[in-house]
Amino acid sequence: MVSGNYEPTIVGFLCNWCAYQGADLAGTARMEYPPNVRPVRVMCTGRIDPTFILKAFAEGADGVLVGGCHPGDCHYLEGNYKAIRRITMVRRMLEQFGIEPERFRLEWVSASEGAKWAKVVKEMTEQVRALGPLQWWENVREAQDAESVALGSAEGRR
């Protein structure tokens, strides 16, 4: 399935005040990085509903990257702390959906860290490229099959 020139598509949810500005700075400073991350601007990582992340995967994203302010630097005081808690839950949900944990990443990128943004995108792109396209239905089916076999009724059900 993984063709030689497979390019992953990654959705980035970036907070308006830090990560989005950091990405802007990477642009202003002309730091080249792969085009695989497609950003969605939100005001704060605290706004990121777990369904946004699932929606991105369901629509065909191979990875999701969340970028926010460093802990303590949130423009809305503590939105990123709330994001951390929610994202802990998201990670567990993704696992249950058969989505490899390496397809999801949370990063703190400040408004002055253009270089960090470029580096994170490079790393994430390589990481997801190595995993290949997201085939989570197949993963789920495999898991179901394994479960059926374990129950000794694989033939009976089909």
Binding site: P35, R38, M43, R47
Partner: protein, 660 residues
């Protein structure tokens, strides 16, 4: 909702976008997207004709949504929102696609494909955008200025002169900041205190300035135009109303400690003003040094004070202020060079910092203006080491901008006060300002020795008779291409200007970001050099980065103008993209109440539902994502709008058909 008729405008940005993104291809692609009535491209969308193109098309084609694919919304969202509003469209029906900062500037291949995805996302989002109305709220016509160095003083006077009230808060017992510690200023060599003290006196007596020295900002709440600030006034133990500044208490106080103002080179009393021209001229008692506070006896000052101003029972006070704008002018610290152990600061005698040298040169300083070594003798030779901690990846990468010039000034002062030979050990001479190069030439003619190279070591280990009892600088002379050893009597280090020790705390208190260098970050490095990410909070002077006095003064006046244009308007528009509760759905679980960082959510006990105050709400959306009943909508960032954006963003991806 009416059928969307979207106009897409793709900007070339000269060659900035058009060089990497195939604009024709992208425009063609956009014209085929659902709901798009028209797709056009233009050289510079932000230009006057570019904006006109948008306005004309709104009218001609009855567009009800506009997407501009150009730069970052942080750059021109306001420009285009204004343009569409002028054509009668609600500004919140405008959407930007960032195909420059996030695309053409950072990708070589794949920029066109990414631009299409970003535009598709913007189009999908635009079709479900909803109109919003901005509320206007009254502005408190006062300004808080934090820090009363030259930056704070200048801004305060500018604003006060326009007949607006200023609260000027200073942590130290007197105004004056770093500038009043300096002896002369480059390149004109005018005396620092001579030019500053008149301004200091003005802030002390101006009817529109409420000066709060020995005070610190404790808490900031509210929003642009309407901040609430708590200021902690530390007890001076001297009644400012009664004290007439005669100074008898300071003269008679028997207890001494190192003077912070004189960088520990001189002494001050337990009851003191930091320097003779202090404003206000009211001393404070340092409870760490005062024996009465430690042991309960002495009270000499109280007995001798002719006006009965000593007030040992004074308590700290919290003052609450209401202001419309805030200017942060908290200045800088000087890097402590002792970690650079090879330079011997605090280990070898007669290795001093620039500020210590300034105090030594000052006529009111610890040596009465005499340049002396630790043993009291006059130095025969002095070396000045540039870039100590600055332009050094181990410490601070940036250039501190003023050291080359003050080092030249020092050469002149040393020559004026002594017969000493002067050596400048520099990496590059950066004399870029008005009159700077001329000053450099003048000093070169005065017979200063310039050695180009980074000093490796300052040592007291002599290897010959000439070096005995001297400080020896070991350095490469990069112009001669060999190592040199220079024996001198005194070494002056030019340490980096660094952010204040408590910069992190202060940044959080005022909700402003910091740059990679640690200083406060301006909103835009070129076009908004004093605004910050927090609307209504401005940052000026060295708190924003190292700069000299003229630049600081210019920036302070810029900050004053920004603050004035805000408070003078009378009203300010507040964020329209706030959160709102649907009473029908709200279950009254109160989860959102504790999440809101601004206490904008209240619980209506009668209806048993949450209620959001849309003046206090800043639109972060934390409550929106947390509401288990999905009863809260985040305006302009609704689930529906974000889902539409994601769908558009990934519309080019072919999903495999799978059986569920």
């Amino acid at each position: 909702m009416e059928e969307p008729r979207i106009g897409v405008f793709v900007c070339h940005c000269g060659s900035n976008i058009a060089d990497t993104v195939d604009v024709d291809e992208v425009r063609e692609f956009a014209s085929g997207l659902p709901g798009v009535a028209s797709a056009l491209d233009y050289k510079f969308m932000c230009s006057e004709p570019g904006q006109l193109l948008i306005k004309e098309n709104i009218e001609k084609l009855h567009l009800n949504r506009v997407v501009v694919a150009s730069c970052s919304p942080r750059m021109h969202e306001i420009t285009f929102r204004k343009a569409v509003a002028e054509a009668g469209m609600n500004p919140y029906l405008f959407q930007m696609a960032n195909i420059r900062e996030h695309d053409s500037w950072v990708h070589k291949d794949g920029a066109t494909e990414k631009a299409k995805a970003l535009i598709h996302a913007a189009v999908e989002r635009a079709s479900v955008l909803e109109p919003l109305e901005r509320k206007e709220v009254p502005v408190t016509p006062t300004v808080l200025i934090v820090g009363a160095g030259i930056a704070g003083i200048q801004a305060a006077l500018n604003i006060a002169e326009s007949d607006h009230k200023v609260y000027l808060v200073e942590r130290e017992p007197s105004v004056g900041g770093r500038m009043i510690q300096l002896d002369k200023t480059f390149p004109t060599l005018d005396c620092s205190s001579c030019i500053l003290t008149p301004k200091m006196a003005s802030v002390g007596s101006h009817p529109n300035i409420e000066l709060m020295t020995y005070s610190e900002v404790e808490e900031v709440s509210g929003y642009i135009g309407n901040f609430k600030v708590k200021v902690r006034k530390k007890p001076r133990y001297v009644d400012s109303e009664l004290c007439n500044g005669c100074g008898l208490c300071m003269e008679k106080c028997p207890w001494k400690t190192d003077s912070e103002f004189d960088m520990g080179l001189g002494k001050r009393k337990a009851i003191y003003t930091p320097f003779p021209q202090a404003v206000p001229n009211v001393p404070v008692i340092d409870t760490e040094t005062c024996v009465y506070f430690k042991k309960g006896t002495c009270r000499a000052c109280e007995k001798l004070c002719p006006t009965g101003a000593i007030a040992f029972d004074q308590k700290e006070e919290i003052v609450e202020l209401e202001v419309g704008a805030i200017i942060v002018a908290t200045g800088y610290d000087l890097f402590d060079p002792s970690p650079i152990t090879q330079y011997g600061y605090k280990r070898l005698d007669n290795v001093i910092t620039s500020l210590e040298f300034e105090r030594m040169c000052s006529a009111t300083g610890p040596t009465g203006g005499e340049l002396v070594l630790k043993d009291g003798s006059t130095p025969q030779s002095v070396a000045i080491i540039h870039c100590v901690g600055s332009r050094d990846k181990n410490y601070y990468e940036y250039c501190s901008r003023v050291c080359c010039m003050y080092a030249l000034k020092y050469s002149h002062l040393i020559k004026e006060k002594t017969e000493a030979d002067v050596y400048q050990l520099y990496i590059d001479m950066r004399c870029y300002g008005k009159g700077f190069e001329e000053f450099y030439q003048r000093l070169s003619d005065e017979g200063v020795n310039f050695v180009r190279g980074k000093v490796a070591q300052v040592t007291d280990q002599a290897i010959n008779d000439e070096e005995k009892g001297k400080l020896v600088l070991v350095s490469e002379d990069t112009l001669l291409g060999r190592m040199v050893r220079i024996p001198v009597d005194m070494v002056i280090l030019c340490p980096a200007m660094v952010p204040r020790a408590d910069v992190e705390e202060v940044a959080r208190r005022f909700l402003i970001s910091r740059g990679a260098d640690g200083f406060f970050l301006e909103k835009h490095p070129k076009l908004e050099p004093v605004a910050t990410a927090s609307a209504g909070v401005f940052v000026v002077g060295c708190a924003q980065g190292p700069k000299d006095i003229p630049d600081t003064v210019a920036q302070a006046s810029a900050g004053a103008a920004e603050a004035l244009s805000l408070i003078d308007r009378g009203t300010v528009e507040v964020e329209a993209a706030t959160a709102v509760v649907n009473e029908e759905i709200c279950s009254g679980c109160k989860i959102c109440l504790n999440l809101c960082p601004y206490n904008a959510i209240a619980f209506d006990e009668e209806k048993k539902v949450a209620e959001i105050n849309d003046i206090l709400c800043k639109g972060c959306g934390v409550c929106v994502a947390a509401c288990p009943s999905a009863a809260i909508t985040g305006r302009h960032f609704t689930d529906k709008q974000i889902f539409a954006e994601i769908e558009g963003l990934l519309a080019d991806i072919k999903l495999p058909l799978v059986a569920v």
